[in-house]
Structures are given as structure tokens and as C-alpha cells.
């Protein structure tokens, strides 16, 4: 199994390297940030002179090598928009994004898992129908609409929560729910179908025949086995939440990475875009790796392979 994990780790590193190449190439095709660094009124000569000075006229391989070696030394270049090191600009937003990701993951698990289990166990009941309808609704309602509606209700009408910002813990509630509802709905649906499949397996009948309590059968025998299929989805959700949510962060003025990414794309702030995309890629790869490890922990069959 160690061999398996080392192999996975090696694959992960290759994936990260591949991502740096793709990100670098795509951004290079998109243009260069020189026009941004000069005011609206700069002439073409001034733009060309700066382009030459900063090395944007060098062959692409040389530019990529420079970028990669600097990155390995922790130098991710300057943000042209902020005139500060790109890493500093991004690092400032990490706490906000991580806080929101964890909070919304909490919402996801608190809603998704119980709802999925109940829905499967009480299959075809009224409760199941209600949960399934809500899950469908949760997946259909766009985040920006739900965010604004919640804002109008809880902040403007009832005045129990602040509309936006990062100033207090109460400000976390609406963005976390907005983000969490969609994923919770996905988890509910996934868990429900996987639980139903497992509940029809023979070993469940055996467990029941042994006279075990319904709770033990559901939680210990069915849920634990259903978990491995849901784990992949949870892993994907965690990585995408950690990458920052553009819409939710924008609607709720949450100072996170997603909003920074969009701003930086709009402003052609290359170094920041490169850094964020790479950071996201590393998070994805790392979370996938952790999910693989967790598989081994919860599923002996994987361990034996």
C-alpha cells in the first residue's frame, strides 16, 4: 500500500507540473499585462518599451523557465494591479476563503448526510418526497439569486444578519448557507441512491436476520459502505470550495480568493491569476490524495489491493 501511495504522490506532482505548463501557456496566449501597468493614455511606444524591459518579448520557453524557477524559490512575481508581491496579495485572502469553505462544508455535511440517510431509509415515504424535492430545488436555484433573496429577507426585512462583509461571525451565515445548499443537495442525492443500493445487498439482510438494531444496520453496515462513494464527491466539493467561490464571494462582498481571481482576470493581473490557478490545482491534487488515503482507511478492500 505504501507503494500505491508513493505512486499516487508521484502522479500528483506530475499533475501539478502539467498544470503550470497549461496555465502559463494559456495566459501567454491571452496577451501580456503591460497595457495594464501603464495608464490609459500611454502611447504604443511606451508600451513596447516596457514589454521589452520586462522580458515579454523573450521566447516562451525562456519565459516559462524563468517563471518556474522563480516559483520554486517562492517568488511568484509582482501583482501589477496592486504593486505588491503576488503571494502577499493572494495570502491575504486565504483566511476568508478557508473560513467560508469550512463553514459551508459544515452546512453541507449537517444537511446532506442526515437528509440522504433518512431519504434512503424512509424510501418512497412523504418525507422522502419532500427531501428529494428540496434537493432538486437546492440544485436548481442559482446562487446569486438565493444570496440576494436571503439578504433581502434576513438583512433588510428582519435585520438579524448583516448583508455582507467579513466583519463578524454572523456575516458568515448567509454565504455559508448559499454555498452549502447546492453541495448539500448533491450529497443528499448521491448518498440516497448509494444507500438504497447497499440496503438491498444480502449482507444487510444477514445483519437484520442476526437481530441487530435498525440503527446499527443503517449506520454501521450500510452508511459506512455508502460513504466511500460519497467521499469522492465530498473531496471534489472541498477542493472547489477552497478554490473560492466567485459568485457567492461577489454577492456577499466576501474578501476571498474567488473574487480576487475574477478581478485579476479582468485586469490581466497575470502573476496573481497564475498563482491562484496553481494554488487551486495543488489543493485539488492534495485533496484527491487525501481522499485516496481515506479510502484506504475506511475501505479494507482498497487497502488489500
Amino acid at each position: 500500500m505504501t507503494k500505491y501511495l508513493v505512486k499516487r504522490l508521484f502522479q500528483s506532482l506530475i499533475a501539478v507540473l502539467g498544470i503550470t505548463i497549461v496555465v502559463f501557456l494559456v495566459l501567454n496566449i491571452a496577451g501580456d499585462p503591460v497595457t495594464l501597468m501603464l495608464p490609459e493614455t500611454a502611447s504604443f511606444e511606451e508600451i513596447e518599451a516596457l514589454r521589452e524591459k520586462l522580458g515579454y518579448n523573450d521566447p516562451i520557453l525562456i519565459q516559462y523557465w524563468r517563471f518556474l524557477s522563480n516559483a520554486l524559490h517562492g517568488d511568484f512575481g509582482m501583482s501589477y494591479n496592486y504593486n505588491r508581491p503576488a503571494w502577499d496579495v493572494v495570502a491575504e485572502r486565504i483566511p476568508a476563503t478557508v473560513t467560508l469553505a469550512l463553514a459551508s462544508m459544515g452546512v453541507v455535511l449537517a444537511i446532506g448526510i442526515p437528509a440522504g440517510i433518512i431519504s434512503a431509509v424512509k424510501r418512497n415515504s412523504v418525507l422522502d418526497a419532500v427531501i428529494r424535492s428540496l434537493a432538486l430545488l437546492g440544485q436548481c436555484v442559482p446562487a446569486f439569486w438565493m444570496g440576494i433573496m436571503m439578504m433581502l429577507l434576513f438583512a433588510v426585512k428582519l435585520k438579524v444578519l448583516p448583508t455582507s462583509g467579513f466583519a463578524s461571525w454572523s456575516a458568515l451565515v448567509m454565504p455559508a448557507c448559499t454555498l452549502g445548499v447546492f453541495s448539500a443537495a448533491t450529497i443528499t442525492r448521491m448518498l440516497r441512491s448509494s444507500m438504497i443500493e447497499i440496503m438491498s445487498k444480502e449482507y444487510i439482510d444477514v445483519a437484520k436476520a442476526k437481530g441487530l438494531y435498525g440503527y446499527v444496520v443503517v449506520m454501521k453496515h450500510a452508511f459506512k459502505n455508502a460513504l466511500s462513494s460519497v467521499l469522492t464527491i465530498i473531496g471534489l466539493q472541498v477542493s472547489s470550495l477552497l478554490g473560492g467561490s466567485v459568485i457567492t464571494e461577489t454577492v456577499f462582498a466576501w474578501p476571498g480568493i474567488g473574487r480576487l481571481l475574477v478581478q485579476s482576470i479582468n485586469n490581466s493581473d497575470f502573476m496573481v491569476v497564475e498563482l491562484i490557478v496553481m494554488l487551486m490545482a495543488v489543493v485539488f491534487v492534495a485533496v484527491n490524495f487525501i481522499v485516496d488515503v481515506l479510502y484506504c482507511v475506511i475501505n479494507p478492500r482498497v487497502r488489500l489491493q
Binding site: 500500500m1 505504501t2 501511495l5 504522490l9 491571452a30 496577451g31 497595457t35 501597468m37 501603464l38 495608464p39 490609459e40 493614455t41 500611454a42 502611447s43 504604443f44 511606451e46 508600451i47 516596457l50 524559490h73 517562492g74 517568488d75 496592486y82 504593486n83 505588491r84 508581491p85 503571494w87 502577499d88 496579495v89 495570502a91 491575504e92 485572502r93 483566511p95 476568508a96 444570496g147 440576494i148 439578504m151 433581502l152 438583512a155 433588510v156 435585520k159 448583516p162 448583508t163 455582507s164 462583509g165 467579513f166 466583519a167 463578524s168 461571525w169 461577489t250 454577492v251 456577499f252 462582498a253 474578501p255 476571498g256 473574487r259 480576487l260 478581478q263 488515503v293 484506504c296 487497502r303
Partner: protein
């Protein structure tokens, strides 16, 4: 088995830690930065409840806080890098300048007590005595010199460099100085509005990076804190040379979403918002405690016409016909709900040198058809129109309305949306569509700047090249004393005669405020949203 598993995990963790450790030069610093931010966030979290408490006790201790919302964060607090209007607006509250523009776009003295024009390249300024920076040091000519010298520095790359390095400062004594320019430039005084005087002693001591994060100026407000992408807090400066401002604390929040800004205003979390779109006006106007205010800005929306290709717009008669075929007033009323001013000249009435005796193109579809027939297009022609329509509110609807109006005189328009970077590249390569939608404005826009950038040969937003125009531009720019108006008038007449551009409308800045907190406030012409000129409710 389990032991081996644990060992693997441990090894992986160590390896990961090693990888992180590899980024030595940056990592220790950046970890601190992240930690500081986390601490700041925690502090802010606590501060949130404190400030709510403070708001409740406001009546008792009488401290007045005004909170306003911007659409995005400042990019820099170092005035030498503050090219964006939002950054410039924030900085204008912390720093002072020799001369600045007021809400009506008139030049007024700021740190300077008086000035005189010595010759075409020299201005003499006298500073007010006893101006204090926020750390108590006095502002002198040396600070002005230091500010301009660093912007001009060959090796530095401050954003202000390309537009402002034409001037430099020669101090006479502590309070008297010359501002000189390399060439005569009639925009010098207006540009000085952007030269915020920075404290030489402080910047030299702490360095640029620290200065950007903790700026010290001599303006009405002291910098308190900057929570990136979230809020900036300022505090009234007791020793401000213009007198302590009436609002004790200004908080500028970043709320990018238009609906969220309105919700925050309604919920009483912010007192003043900008960038209100016309679609939201009705709702805001229906609220009792909200006042909606609007005003024409320095921004003009227009079409450039690409005269480099072989399209019909190379013929001046066609260009005139297009100008005559567009009913600007209908567009303003129908598409922009009246929140814009129809214009048919690049020179706006608020600009120095605007001449209202110059004729403009009035809506005349029959005249347009006649001109098209004369130019050899009796049945009209097909033409492409492009633009980055997402950049300006309602621009896409405007483009469609224009296309419909042009269709009525036989010009069939295909609309293509492009992003602004692509458009810039096309301008450089002279490959823009015959009609290209753009807007140009900002806090130091004037006739010199807009005509140069939109029509000057080789300029970034220009699709025209004409030697006679260049000569007129040069005369206009270099006439500092003497008959300035003659140059301005000649330029406006020349643009009218050659019709190289289709001006459409002057945009409006629309803002809204809470009448329970703010007694009086005016929208500024220069698109800058600031709280320092708020008159609070007592």
C-alpha cells in the same frame, strides 16, 4: 500494516513540509503576512460587534461615522501608483495637493496659497504655512520635489509615470517653489490634482512597501486600517489645514454587487453608495429615507470610425451622415432613462475651452440619406460595429438602438462584442471595425486629453491620423498663457468639419444616500466617490 501506513503518512507530511520550506526567501515573510491577516480578521471580527456597540452609543459620545460603499477595493494607497479612479478617490481624502478640483470640476487651491504663471513652462506656487502631515511634521517644498522626482525617476515604474513625468519641481525656499514642465502643457494645473504630496521623511524612512500599507499624508483624514477587499477606515485629522472635517470616522466598504450595495443601504449598514444602475432607481426612489442623486460626469461614450481601411467611413460625407442619422436624445431617454446627457462633441460643457458656438450634428435622417447618396451609397451599405459593451452600464442596449437607427438610413450594422484587451490590440494594428464603441473619462479628463487619446496619430484609442489635427492639438496643448480659447475653438471646429468620431452621450454618476445620516452631499463630476465632503445630520 497499520504501522507502515502511519509511517507513510508521516513521511508524506514531512516531504510536504520540506517542499514548503524550499521557498525560503519568501516563505517566512509570507507566513507572517498570512498570520497577520488572520489576526487582523479575528480582530475585525471582534471589532464588528464593537462598532455595532459604538453605533448604539453614538448619540451619547457624539462621534459621527459615515460608511460608504465602493464597487472594488483600492489597488494602492501610494499616490504614485494610484491610477484607478477608486484608488485616487480614497487617496484624495488622505493626501493634499497643490491644486485640486472641487465637486463641480473647478480648480481650487489646496496646499498652495497662491500660484502664478511665470512663462509657458513655469508656474510659481506658494505653499500655505504650517501644513502638518499626520505625524506632525510640516509639509514643505522639499516634499513636493521628492514626490515629482520619484515619479520621474528613470528606474522607477510608478503607474503615474507616463502621464505625469513631464513636470518637475524646483524649490525656492521652504514655502515657495517652481513647477516646471519639459514642454508647454496647458493641462498642467489639472494634472497637478493627481500629484498628491507625499512626506519625504516618512517614505525614505519606511520604504515604498510600508508606505503603501500605512500611508501618511496631509489631507483631512488619517489612515487607520485597510482590510483588503473589505474595508478602509479613516479618521478625521485634528490639525488639517482646512479645518477638522465634520465626520469623525469614514469607513469605505467594498461591495461589488449592485443589489448587495442597495440592500446594505436599505439595511442601514452603509450610508452612501455609488454606481447605482438606472434599473434600480425606481426601487430606491420609493424608499422614504433614501435620496438618489445624479450628475453628468467627465465620461463620454462615443464611436470611433476606422479611417485606415477601405470601409465607407473613410469618406467624410459618410461620417457626417452617420453622425446625423443617430437620434441621441431618443437613446438617452429611451435606453438610459434620461440618466445621460446627449452630446455631439468630444468637448464637454464642463471642460475649459468648450465653445457652444461650434455647430453640432442634429438628428436629420433625410439629410443623412442625401449625404450617403452623394457619397455613392444611395442604397446604403453593410458595416460592422464592435465594442466592449460590458464595461459601461446599458452599453449593449445603446449599441442596438444605434444599429436600429442606422438601419433606417440604409446602413445595416452587425454588432460584435469584444473584450477591451482585444480592442486595444486592434487599435494598435488599425484593424478595428468601421464603428467601435468606447468610453473615455476620468478625474483629469479635458479637451486636450480626450482629443489626443481618441483622435491623435498613434494613440491608444485612435483610429484616425491627420496632420492638420496634430498641428491644432500641438497649438492647443502648448498654449499656456495668451489666447488659449482660439486653440480650443479651432480644434472643436476642425472635429466638427471632419467628423472623425461619433460622440453619443455624457454618462451620469448616480449615487444614493441615507437621509437619516447625511444632510447634504453632492455627486462629484470627476467620477470619484468620497465621503469627506459629507454634511452629516447633527
Amino acid at each position: 500494516m497499520r504501522k507502515r501506513f502511519t509511517a507513510t503518512i508521516l513521511a508524506v507530511t514531512l516531504a510536504a513540509a520540506g517542499l514548503v520550506g524550499c521557498g525560503t526567501p519568501q516563505s517566512s515573510e509570507s507566513t507572517t503576512a498570512a498570520a497577520t491577516t488572520a489576526a487582523a480578521a479575528a480582530e475585525a471580527a471582534e471589532g464588528g460587534s464593537e462598532s455595532e456597540a459604538a453605533a448604539e452609543t453614538e448619540a451619547s459620545d457624539g462621534e459621527i461615522t459615515i460608511t460608504y460603499a465602493q464597487t472594488s477595493d483600492v489597488t494602492s494607497l501610494d499616490p504614485r501608483n494610484a491610477t484607478s479612479t477608486i484608488s485616487a478617490a480614497m487617496i484624495s481624502q488622505v493626501f493634499s495637493t497643490l491644486i485640486r478640483t472641487d465637486a463641480d470640476y473647478n480648480l481650487v487651491l489646496d496646499a498652495a496659497e497662491s500660484y502664478e504663471v511665470i512663462d509657458d513652462t513655469t508656474y510659481k506656487f506658494t505653499l500655505r504655512k504650517g501644513i502638518k502631515f499626520h505625524d506632525g511634521e510640516e509639509l514643505t517644498s522639499e516634499d513636493v520635489k521628492y514626490t515629482l522626482d520619484t515619479i520621474r525617476d528613470e528606474n522607477a515604474t510608478y503607474s503615474l509615470k507616463s502621464d505625469f513625468s513631464f513636470m518637475y519641481c524646483e524649490p525656492i525656499d521652504d514655502y515657495n517653489l517652481y513647477i516646471k514642465t519639459d514642454e508647454p502643457n496647458s493641462s498642467t494645473l489639472l494634472r497637478l490634482n493627481y500629484i498628491k504630496i507625499i512626506p519625504k521623511h516618512y517614505v525614505e524612512e519606511v520604504g515604498d512597501e510600508e508606505f503603501n500599507l500605512h500611508p501618511i499624508g496631509s489631507g483631512p483624514y488619517k489612515f487607520v486600517s485597510w482590510d483588503t477587499d473589505e474595508a478602509i477606515t479613516l479618521e478625521a485629522f485634528d490639525d488639517y489645514f482646512g479645518g477638522r472635517p465634520p465626520v469623525d470616522r469614514l469607513v469605505c466598504k467594498v461591495i461589488p454587487e449592485a443589489s448587495a450595495r442597495i440592500a446594505a443601504l436599505e439595511a442601514g449598514e452603509v450610508d452612501l453608495i455609488g454606481a447605482v444602475t438606472t434599473g434600480q432607481m425606481e426601487r430606491l426612489q420609493s424608499l422614504d429615507n433614501i435620496e438618489v442623486v445624479s450628475r453628468p460626469s467627465t465620461r463620454t461614450a462615443y464611436f470611433t470610425m476606422n479611417t485606415f481601411g477601405d470601409s465607407p467611413v473613410t469618406d467624410v460625407r459618410v461620417r457626417k451622415a452617420i453622425n446625423m442619422a443617430i437620434d441621441r436624445e431618443t437613446i438617452v431617454q429611451g435606453v438610459l432613462d434620461g440618466y445621460a446627457q446627449a452630446v455631439s462633441s468630444l468637448a464637454l460643457p464642463i471642460f475649459e475651452g468648450f465653445d457652444d458656438s461650434i455647430p453640432t450634428y442634429e438628428y436629420d435622417p433625410e439629410g443623412a440619406k442625401a449625404l450617403l447618396a452623394e457619397a455613392g451609397y444611395p442604397d446604403g451599405f453593410d458595416i460592422e460595429m464592435e465594442g466592449s459593451f460590458s464595461g459601461l452600464s446599458n452599453a449593449s442596449d445603446v449599441a442596438q438602438a444605434v444599429a436600429a437607427q442606422l438601419a433606417e438610413v440604409g446602413i445595416n450594422v452587425t454588432i460584435v462584442e469584444k473584450d477591451s484587451d482585444t480592442l486595444r490590440d486592434e487599435y494598435q494594428a488599425h484593424t478595428t471595425s468601421p464603428l467601435t464603441f468606447f468610453s473615455f473619462g476620468g478625474p483629469y479628463n479635458d479637451i486636450n486629453l480626450i482629443t489626443k487619446c481618441v483622435l491623435g496619430t498613434g494613440e491608444r484609442y485612435s483610429a484616425w491620423s491627420d496632420q492638420e489635427f496634430e498641428d491644432l492639438l500641438h497649438t492647443m496643448q502648448s498654449t499656456v498663457s495668451g489666447d488659449k480659447q482660439a486653440g480650443y475653438t479651432a480644434m472643436q471646429q476642425y472635429i466638427y468639419d471632419n467628423a472623425p468620431v461619433v460622440p453619443l452621450y455624457q454618462t451620469y454618476s448616480i449615487c444614493a444616500y441615507n437621509k437619516d445620516k447625511i444632510a447634504e452631499w453632492n455627486v462629484r463630476t470627476d467620477e470619484m466617490l468620497m465621503g469627506f465632503d459629507v454634511v452629516p445630520v447633527k
